[in-house]
Subunit: 544 residues, 2 copies
């Protein structure tokens, strides 16, 4: 075969539609196997329902139904009581990839990329050839909009196969999604059952009614009528903003001067802070942002990094809270010690975030295996790709031996322990579009390590106390063992009678009690443990 020229090779060059790209790479979106595909679909639908309800300030009530149609085929139905979606937007939201409202704002939401639910539609269409069916109603006195959609993969645009305006009796507002897809259902750690249970734990304002393919129905009733505080949309924090982004912001700002630009386009920049930054950057406060050269922007960046700027505010972030994380553990695991921590807000690439962690030790937990790790991001449980996650990496990196667990070099520690870690942020960086593992950003890694070390130290305090107690009990039993012998010896020495001996033994026991103090049990009693709840999704764990 002879050489080919650049001209010949050029003929094959062309654009790739994002829908084609993800159809071929569906594993990137969490659709690599039938079991995971089912979970990913329900996860995307439920995450969207929760986001929509919270944004509209409605207490969420979500119904999830999974019906097995044949060996490898399922019908997924998810219905919410959210604000509904107006007719015009329905096709794009469900049948166009990279379309949505959450990507362009800095606010904490579960969805963020505008890919998830349309990816599920793409997968359904790929595996069954069937369109996705949507019904949506935006108010009590409105009609509902019902349609069936396919994605045109060559253009990444929706094809409306069928549409109708109709009544939806008994429904004030909300959205219902139905789709048929290839799938596989099993219980276990990565099951739909486990996902919904974990979701219910960290979203106590939500009611979820779930019917699984075995026709078992679980009602996770809401535990509070208070919606979580609404996460505020924010401006980027100056720390970590990249040069390119800074250039883009300066070009597109409405501010006339640099002094104004820094104060209005960023969070936590006061007038005096702005002055400091500009002084460090050798830029005049009156300079026009649009006229800055690349080199000046570079100096601005250095100015920012050389100026002390207040930490980002936490009101843009809605953590689960350490208390609730710990409560979740108490409900799920019967342990002897619980603790938790919330780190102060930090920043990576200009985005504020918070890491929280909780730990449950001992009790019913197995002591001969690796500890159990539960990961969450923006209140969503992460069930796959544990090996790829920054949390897992840091869990191995902390020295757990000194905290009372076994560990061989840099691997997951071994012992009767469960650890939960949650990252809340206006933008969570995942290692893939399937949103299963946190990317390894240095600033995030550091906060995770500090949170783990914090619960680790609390664990150490407990295990130390426990070890001390154990030693004390050993000593006491030793002394108690010798009391009769001492009494016996005294009897011989002082020629006492038997009744005196009994008295002496009592006296000696009293002295022991007084000098060594009373022994307090250190293990907690956990009254919140709910065995039936803990078993949801667990039945087949062995086959996992």
């Amino acid at each position: 075969m002879g050489r080919r020229t650049a001209d010949e090779l050029a003929k094959k060059q062309r654009s790739i539609s994002i829908a084609e790209f993800f159809e071929k790479n569906r594993h990137l979106l969490g659709f690599d196997n039938p079991r995971k595909s089912l979970l990913t679909t329900i996860k995307e639908a439920v995450d969207n329902a929760l986001d929509a309800c919270e944004e509209a300030r409605i207490l969420p009530e979500i119904s999830v139904e999974l019906i097995q149609l044949s060996d490898d085929r399922f019908k997924v139905i998810v219905e919410d009581n959210g604000p509904g979606i107006i007719k015009k937007q329905v096709p794009k939201i469900f049948a166009k990839l990279l379309y949505g409202s959450k990507f362009h704002k800095l606010a904490q939401t579960r969805g963020q990329q505008g890919i998830g639910i349309s990816a599920a539609a793409l997968y359904a269409q790929l595996t069954t050839g069937k369109p996705i069916s949507i019904m949506s109603k935006v108010g009590p006195n409105k009609k509902a909009y019902h349609c069936k959609l396919k994605i045109n993969t060559s253009t990444n645009e929706p094809d409306i196969m069928f549409e109708k305006i109709m009544d939806w009796p008994g429904k004030d507002h909300g959205t219902r999604i139905e789709m048929d897809m290839e799938g596989s259902y099993a219980k276990g750690r990565t099951s739909v059952d486990a996902y919904l249970k974990q979701t219910a734990i960290v979203n106590p304002h939500t009611t979820i009614i779930y019917t699984n393919p075995l026709a078992e129905q679980y009602v996770f009733a809401r535990a509070t009528d208070n919606l979580p505080p609404e996460p505020k949309e924010i401006k980027p924090h100056p720390y970590g903003v990249e040069l390119g982004r800074l250039m883009h912001m300066a070009e597109n700002t409405y501010s006339k001067t640099m002094h104004q630009f820094l104060q209005t386009d960023f969070s936590k920049v006061s007038p005096s802070c702005s002055k400091d930054i500009l002084q460090h950057a050798s830029i005049l406060p009156k300079a026009k942002p649009k006229e800055l050269t690349r080199d000046q922007i570079e100096m601005l960046l250095k100015g920012i990094n050389n100026t002390k700027i207040q930490n980002p505010s936490t009101e843009c972030i809605s953590p689960i809270t350490a208390l609730l994380l710990e409560k979740g553990l108490r409900k799920e695991i019967n342990a002897e010690f619980y603790c938790s921590t919330t780190r102060p807000a930090s920043v990576y690439r200009g985005n504020p975030f918070i890491i929280e962690a909780a730990l449950a030790y001992g009790g019913d937990q197995k002591s001969d295996g690796q500890i159990r790790l539960l990961r969450y991001a923006n209140r969503v449980p992460l069930q796959y790709q544990q090996g790829a996650c920054a949390i897992t990496k840091q869990l191995g990196g902390v020295g757990w031996k000194s905290y009372g667990l076994q560990q061989s070099r840099s691997s997951i520690p071994v012992g009767p322990c469960t650890i939960v870690v949650h990252m809340a942020s206006v933008w969570v960086p995942f290692t893939s579009e399937s949103k299963e593992a946190l990317a390894h950003y240095t600033d995030i890694m550091k906060e995770i390590r500090l949170a783990l070390q914090d619960v680790g130290r609390q664990l150490m305090a407990y295990t130390n106390k426990k070890n001390k107690l154990k030693k004390e009990l050993q000593k006491r039993s030793l002394i108690e063992k010798y009391i009769p012998h001492v009494a016996d010896a005294l009897k011989d020495l002082m020629s006492l009678n038997e009744s005196d001996v009994d008295q002496i033994e009592e006296h000696l026991a009293d002295i022991l009690e007084k000098t060594r103090g009373t022994v307090k049990e250190v293990a907690e009693k956990n009254s919140e443990y709910d065995e039936a709840f803990a078993n949801i999704g667990k039945e087949n764990e062995k086959s996992d």
Copy 2:
């Protein structure tokens, strides 16, 4: 805060440009930290250069230069002797994401998504604000085209900042890329040095001249003038083709009948095989593909799965070959035992693939740590995300204890051993766009396991032999120890003199030799080990 309506929420919905998406998610493309970003950039540039040379049937000669500009800033220069790129295509190839020639064809290439090099340009622009510079020449008598490009992130279209037609003296054809970016350089397992060395090992037809930021120059000269056989572009194999894809193919085929469609649009479907499929599917051979209903396509799929179809041909796949994998290990590692295996071609989702593996045991390798795993996909070394890779998962899943290594449940085995695994395919499924780990497709997982078990069994044969030898040597030394005592006893019994005793000892030794055979050393001598080569990229390994 009151409730929000669907109308209010709808206002924020909009499309997201793929460039915006990846700018915000740059870690998805392998740009999560400065060190990795440098590697990813060079990797994308070199992979593209190799693909272009091989497609044009030119023996590749690639120069890579890394220059440190400041603490955290580098200039990356990659130049090849490839066919060059025509003027019109240059901007889109380097400054538009999802654009390329490899996505739409089923053939084994390193690049496949049309994202890599433009992602590097996006990262360079984000971290330094500077455009990427390209020079390309398509023939000896042509002028070169030189341009500087930025990506407009809102539209995902190239902005040409500067362009010029000019001479490129001394260059017949080829492409030169220059870009400034934030980075960090260090040696070690995940370094640029290690990447280029591993690339040179599995691409012996390539010359790479590499100058690192320490001004150390390495020349990896080509070891053969034979280009690897050109991987043929193929049709999909019927096994594993999804319903949606089948519908799409049937709608868009030029074939008039189903009988013709199956034979021309798929590989390995003979006329008799086509008849079998159609019979199993209860579809008439004369049926028109475009008129098939969804239900008929579903039956066709069942028909395919119930028909025995020939394995995919391997000529579309260009494996490294077991021999070369093993040779690479011999050059790099001074071990006592080497083995390798190539699995027959298999199929996942209609795409043929081959798994190869090689193993080096003992010798200079440390025996107290986890074994070393080297992963390759389509001749490209995979250096990150080991924890997320299907290969790692399967390595843990195989029971290595029976093959002679230590292993605690499902983790990476421990021992003096290196294992290489290569997947070659017309479409490699990665867990993210950064192409660092293989996705967990069942069919691929199975082949990896079988390949690992194969080298495992060869290792077991060796370790058994070695153990036998060890026992034999122990026995011999025991017997030899007693020979003088036996001779002494005989002397006393038979009243012999000293010289007879010596003779008896010799006789006894002879008998021992004859009855137990001579002992052969089982460990190999490796004459191919090249210490200087092995040390490239290793110097700072401890700081890794």
